[in-house]
């Protein structure tokens, strides 16, 4: 902040700037929630209606025994849908985002391992998994997408507050001792909070 020195109304103005900045972060939080949550929800919905294909997508990675592939193929979509819904409505944001981010890391590892082993598969992320023509593999794109979604999750773990989140209503934090900020909100601040 470049302004210095108290002017009439300066306090309120400064306050407004701080609000805006926080609001931007809240908005970014909302975007992260919708991106990670939306992708997880769609991915889960597309797979849950096609159990055979979902299992097959896991089998295609050639990483697990069939029984394990079957469990992952059938249960992962449920987890994805649940995380997607939680993130979209903003409930338990930090924890959902943490699990979502970990999932993205796992997916990245899986895709990278398929790439490294020279398999020609679709990531199966959205249910259309399985082998593809070697020239049609899109490992890098898939990894970059999942990395971006991981970043979205990581942001929410660090700063879970966001716009339009159920969390804000449900877990409204009582004004904590020592934090004067909430208090100053409902008295017209006449003293500038300084340029800190």
């Amino acid at each position: 902040m470049t302004r210095s020195g108290p002017e009439p109304g300066a306090g309120r103005h400064e306050h407004g700037v701080a609000m805006t900045r926080g609001r931007w972060a809240d908005l970014l939080g909302l975007v992260c929630r919708l991106a990670l949550g939306g992708v997880l929800l769609v991915a889960g919905l597309l797979k849950v209606g096609d159990p055979t294909g979902s299992i097959q997508s896991v089998v295609a990675y050639r990483l697990f025994d069939y029984r394990v592939s079957e469990m992952i193929g059938l249960m992962l979509p449920v987890v994805e849908i649940a995380l997607g819904l939680l993130l979209i409505v903003g409930l338990l944001t930090r924890w959902s985002a943490a699990v979502g981010a970990v999932l993205m890391l796992v997916f990245i590892a899986g895709i990278a391992s398929a790439w490294a082993r020279g398999l020609s598969i679709d990531c199966g992320c959205f249910g259309t998994g399985g082998p593809v023509d070697p020239s049609d593999t899109a490992y890098l794109t898939e990894i970059l997408r999942d990395a971006a979604l991981f970043a979205a999750g990581a942001w929410l773990v660090v700063r879970p507050r966001s716009l339009l989140a159920v969390d804000t209503v449900l877990f409204r934090r009582p004004p904590a001792a020592g934090s004067a900020a909430p208090e100053s909100r409902h008295t017209a601040p006449s003293v500038p909070k300084g340029a800190s």
């Binding site: 987890v79 649940a82 409204r172 909100r185």
Partner: protein
């Protein structure tokens, strides 16, 4: 214009504990996941050795434990060729167009022991049930000894757009073209889905065996390479070369 005063937050209270809500949600998700697993889990298929037709399969040429449809019966002394394909898969159509006759002629001549596993996973991808119905119809044709011709006719009659599938009338039309004699019995078999369970089991068994796509060709249990598959899809004489090179 003066800003309206911000609403006064409610007095400090202890809201619902995050850990409790989190725990309940996590438990609910796990419960649903387990229920989904139990409900949707395909019945496991035995993967016992089924080298020969025992007559206990769903149709006359069907092997036990959804092991596939046998063409001819050339015995164990010749190379065992196992083809995994889905009737709706365009690459399978190309494979059949180019090398289908080579496979079936070699099998009927006793040069290879040929087995087809008819997969149906594309139904889920494409959002229809044509793979299942066509595979069932092929086994209906098998009841009348017309599997080979019916199989070839369906692939030749693939829709121009993957995913358009076939109507029951089209499946019946293929039977007429393939020389199925008792069309009435065939139609009844198609409409009843007589072999649907076997077809579903063939797909499950494919997943169990790690065959995650189509077309796949195995010779004596060894998967053909991309180059060999491309040869089979472009050169009608490729099979001879591949067999000779073994």
């Amino acid at each position: 214009m003066p800003r309206p005063p911000a609403p006064v937050p409610p007095p400090p209270r202890s809201g619902p504990p995050v850990a409790l809500i989190g725990g309940v949600v996590a438990l609910a998700v796990v419960l649903v996941a387990v229920v989904v697993y139990v409900v949707l889990r395909p019945d496991p298929v035995g993967t016992g050795d089924n080298a020969s037709i025992t007559g206990s399969g769903s149709s006359p040429s069907a092997l036990r434990d959804a092991g596939g449809i046998r063409v001819g019966d050339a015995g164990d002394d010749v190379p065992a060729v196992h083809i995994y394909e889905d009737f709706q898969c365009p690459w399978c159509g190309l494979l059949e167009e180019v090398s289908g006759e080579a496979f079936t002629e070699a099998a009927l001549a006793g040069d290879i022991q040929l087995t087809y596993t008819l997969m149906s996973f594309l139904d889920g991808n494409l959002g229809n049930d044509s793979s299942l119905r066509a595979a069932n119809a092929a086994m209906c044709a098998d009841e009348q000894g017309a599997f080979v011709d019916y199989h070839a006719t369906v692939f030749a009659g693939q829709p121009p757009n993957e995913g358009d599938g076939w109507t029951d009338e089209q499946l019946t039309g293929f039977a007429e073209d393939a020389g199925v004699e008792d069309i009435e019995a065939f139609t009844a078999c198609v409409e009843a889905g007589t072999h649907n369970d076997y077809v579903t089991d063939m797909q499950t068994r494919s997943n169990q065996e790690g065959v995650s796509g189509s077309p796949r060709v195995f010779i004596d249990g060894e998967e053909l390479s991309n180059e060999q598959m491309q040869a089979l899809m472009s050169d009608p004489t490729a099979l001879t070369g591949i067999l000779a090179g073994r």
